[in-house]
Symmetry: C2
């Protein structure tokens, strides 16, 4: 037995984006209770030249949608990067989840050797599907979802790793 | 075609731990140039009740070794959590890489359905191998490696996402 490209991609993205949605919901409640404007936390960052929270969530959802779409041989729907509230970030995640759930396992399975061209640091790079997923997309996806978590944790939101890992099946 | 449990585990851990080693090496050079004692950065954290840098690296390496070993049907070598310098953290990563590289693909392939019991939040939980890897081990591994990066970035070390993602094959 082996595992399929679908198993190693879409459900992994769905799980962690669902958990991230819960983390943002907790942050929204915290902000309301403390009378912190959403814009303050959406602009929070760990260092002046790092991306702020909103951008981390945008990039994470883009990696999830883009990877699913490209492994299936298509292109993802483009989303405008215009979120200004937690509710809008949650909505972006929900739209991304809906797209991921629309992808058929049969369209992604067998994509190990599919050529996928992406700009990496500004230069076009041709990946085999398996390398695109395991060497590039998953590390990037977890990098940005974890950084979103870290920004909120650093901002005093009461979340823990359990929120990030989520319930087990 | 499909992908194997080995492909989705050991090379993923090896790649990101190798990159983390490079990140710690940059932090070591920075600390020496600025005359910052290693202990200051190893104890740095993003919030008072979060684990500090050294612990993040310890846990990340433990997840990598433990996952590889358990998918292969064994137990990982236990490492003492005693690192006090960047050189010692780098050495822990190197010992973890040597262990990962000693694992035979044939011992891990076919472990999708292997029962793996782990304490999750203090309670024994029985995973199928595929769920252990994709739902638990990879998210935890990337959570702790990214948090280690984030602590150093927040501490002013001049690193970027390229250091985390690393060179592509």
């Amino acid at each position: 037995m082996t595992i399929s490209m679908y198993q190693a991609s879409v459900p992994v993205f769905v799980r962690t984006l669902t958990n991230l949605k819960g983390i943002l919901a907790k942050a929204m409640v915290h902000a309301q209770a403390k009378k912190i404007d959403d814009s303050v936390l959406l602009a929070a960052r760990l260092y002046p030249d790092m991306f702020p929270l909103a951008r981390q969530v945008q990039i994470a959802t883009d990696f999830a949608r883009g990877t699913g779409a490209r492994l299936a041989g298509g292109e993802p729907p483009a989303f405008e990067d215009s979120e200004r509230t937690f509710a809008e970030l949650v909505d972006r995640i929900e739209r991304s989840l809906a797209f991921l759930r629309s992808l058929q396992p049969g369209a992604i399975d067998g994509s190990e050797d599919r050529s996928i061209v992406r700009a990496v640091r500004g230069v076009p790079y041709t990946f085999a599907g398996i390398d695109y997923l395991l060497q590039f997309a998953l590390p990037n996806f977890f990098f940005h979802t974890t950084t979103a978590y870290a920004i909120l944790r650093h901002s005093g939101i009461e979340i823990g790793k359990t929120d990030f890992i989520g319930p087990l099946n």
